[in-house]
Amino acid sequence: MPTADGELAIETRGLRKTYRSVRGRRVGVEGLDLQVPVGGVHGFLGPNGSGKTTTIRMLLGLVRPDRGTASIFGHDVPRHLPDVVGRVGAIVESPKFFPAFSARANLRLLADGIGAPRERVDAVIDQVGLSGRAKDRYRTYSLGMKQRLAIAATLLKDPDLLIFDEPTNGLDPAGIHEIRRTMRGLGDQGKTVLVSSHILAEVEQIADTVSIVARGRLVASGSVAELIGGQGGPAVRVGLAADDVAIATSLLTSRGLVVRREDDALLVDGADAATVNRMLGEQGVWAGELTVRRADLESVFLGLTQHEVPGGRDHRGGRRRRKEEARDTTSGAGAASGPGAAVASTTMGEDA
């Protein structure tokens, strides 16, 4: 999905990394092809251990790939990373500053290291709302403050590409909301934001495009709309009295609708709730419950990452939906009620 002029913020081809230790080898990333278009927020999704952090480390030259190539804004990395690093701000996993130095001392070192003016330090500290605590040791910071300081550090460079690796891990709902807003804001400014997460709900709301990885491979990528579209249109779930189920089925089928049985309810594909309601009502069948069920990214995500197809490029792999993989939403409301709820509903276990 390159932009008009074909420029990609990030591109990897066949990227592979195996960690070797005394206990043996462990594949971190297995031939990953990733494409991140310039501008907007790109979600980098995958369960724990699927190789997101490893990929980001390779992009930043922290980890050396065994095979494959990667580029940022067209510059081969890690070879030409120095040419482009000034345009990249990144927070890999949890922020890691010098624990015994103050926030200001930490940022000053970084600013001096890249030749940024000292005034920038206080400006970015102010920008993330840490002015009052700038003189405190980093070690005394709460997790949310650490994240904010890390964001301040990336802003020292005024980067075009921001990479956030699971930025909301461990944050409270307010903190999560704030980080999301920051990322969306950066995306709206025309910057490219790559945000990795194992929590789908976190990314779904702010991402323009997503890539989904499992076991070190890309299993799907595209715009959020495309991925959901691949799952078919919305469905209406009609809750009925047990006696009415058979009648309603024949009624709706006779009108050309596709109907599936689901316990004491019917699932009607490709219709809107009002139409279904009217059809049933005209024949004196009254639905006890009527909900619009939209396919969402989460079902795509779960389908792809749990039933991963070898080779990893088959987007149809997500077709085999299970009941719990789809989330009921009342018509129109796209998200869970609060960030905390969203987190709880989609946190996943170790994949490896």
């Binding site: 930043l60 922290l62 050396r64 010098f98 070192l109 290291g113």
Partner: protein, 358 residues
């Protein structure tokens, strides 16, 4: 060198570095304190006691001296070695045997004569042996005592050099730093240079406080002795070589920190090597020439010597051990240090360039 400046600033933002400086001063204080009694001239009471004791001995000598000399000469005559000298003609007590002496800032002339340490350079021996024996670093003296503490400042520089890199490796701050400056070689050089140059204050301050403190002590007690221009030149030379060794030790520390990753491992490895080369020095025989401690001493003191034992079994099966003294020059010591720094630094650079940082 922007990176070097940043690393220097980071070095001196660290509490370990300031702690090291404090420790250097503490060590200097201890060194001065421990030299107090040696630098103090004998008190009148001590002199009076010595004179009294001398008088008693003299009295005994006047009564029994002739018997003692006769007994001595008899044993001398019985000795199978015709060249044996029991010193029977020097048995009369002399006052200076009993007078307490103060240690002077530089060794007293009679302390610097070859042979005072029990090693008589033979005819065929290296003339440098005598030179080393006559240097201000042999024999008891204030500056000699100060010199004993110099190694402590080198260790401080080493430890600070180690923790300068191991701390940021374990806290993960190195990863953050590399996302700002990914050119690993430059990053490594800046760290190694900052650690070598930045720890110099520890060595300089520690050494100046020690040597200066001890000098002041001797000056106050009036026991400086006669310090020649040559002595001052040697002290200045030692100081310069010590500072260079400090830079080397810090650079070695930084390299070992990168190679072994953990401060405990790096400091432990260095400690084991140093301990082994001191504790088992003699079992290395002629290979003592390549021991780090020997070379470091040679570099600092302008040359050093070591002894090699050789067992010779004669026809009768009697084993005699002969000790020969070998010399290691300051030049060798300096080249040795340089080689260790170069090898470890290059190895660390290769590792640092290639390693995965998390």
């Amino acid at each position: 060198m922007r990176l070097l400046r940043v690393e220097l600033r980071r070095l001196w933002l660290r509490r370990v570095t300031w702690g090291g400086l404090l420790l250097a001063l503490l060590i200097a204080g201890l060194a001065v304190l421990s030299q107090i009694s040696a630098a103090t001239p004998p008190s009148e009471r001590e002199i009076a006691e010595a004179e009294e004791f001398y008088a008693q001995e003299l009295e005994y000598w006047e009564e029994h001296g002739e018997e003692d000399v006769a007994a001595c000469e008899e044993s001398e005559a019985d000795d199978p070695d015709p060249a044996a000298d029991y010193g029977c003609d020097q048995m009369e007590p002399r006052l200076e045997w009993f007078l307490p002496t103060a240690t002077t800032f530089v060794p007293a002339p009679e302390m610097r004569e070859a042979g005072t340490d029990g090693i008589e350079p033979g005819d065929g021996d290296d003339p440098r042996i005598a030179e080393i024996q006559e240097s201000i670093w042999s024999g008891w003296s204030g500056i000699g005592a100060a010199g004993e503490y110099a190694a402590a400042f080198l260790m401080l520089a080493f430890v600070v050099g180690v923790s300068f890199v191991t701390a940021e490796q374990s806290s993960g701050a190195l990863g953050m730093w590399l996302t700002f400056e990914p050119r690993r070689s430059r990053v490594y050089w800046s760290k190694a240079a900052a650690s070598a140059a930045g720890t110099l204050p520890l060595v300089v301050v520690g050494w100046l406080a020690t040597a200066g403190g001890i000098y002041t002590l001797h000056a106050v007690f009036g026991t400086v002795g006669e310090v020649s221009g040559e002595d001052w030149a040697e002290i200045a030379g030692f100081s310069v070589r010590l500072v260079a060794a400090g830079a080397a030790c810090a650079a070695i520390g930084t390299a070992l920190g990168v190679l072994l990753r953990h401060a405990v491992a790096a400091v432990g490895a260095a400690a084991v090597v140093l301990w082994a080369s001191v504790a088992f020095a003699f079992s290395f025989g002629s290979a003592q020439r390549w021991l780090p401690t020997v070379n470091l001493t040679a570099w600092l003191e302008g040359g050093t010597r070591y002894s090699v034992a050789e067992d010779v079994r004669d026809d009768a099966g009697v084993v005699t051990t002969t000790w020969t003294t070998e010399v290691v020059s300051a030049t060798q010591g300096g080249l040795y240090l340089l080689a260790v720094v170069a090898v470890l630094t290059l190895a660390a650079l290769v590792v640092f360039r290639r390693k995965d940082v998390s």
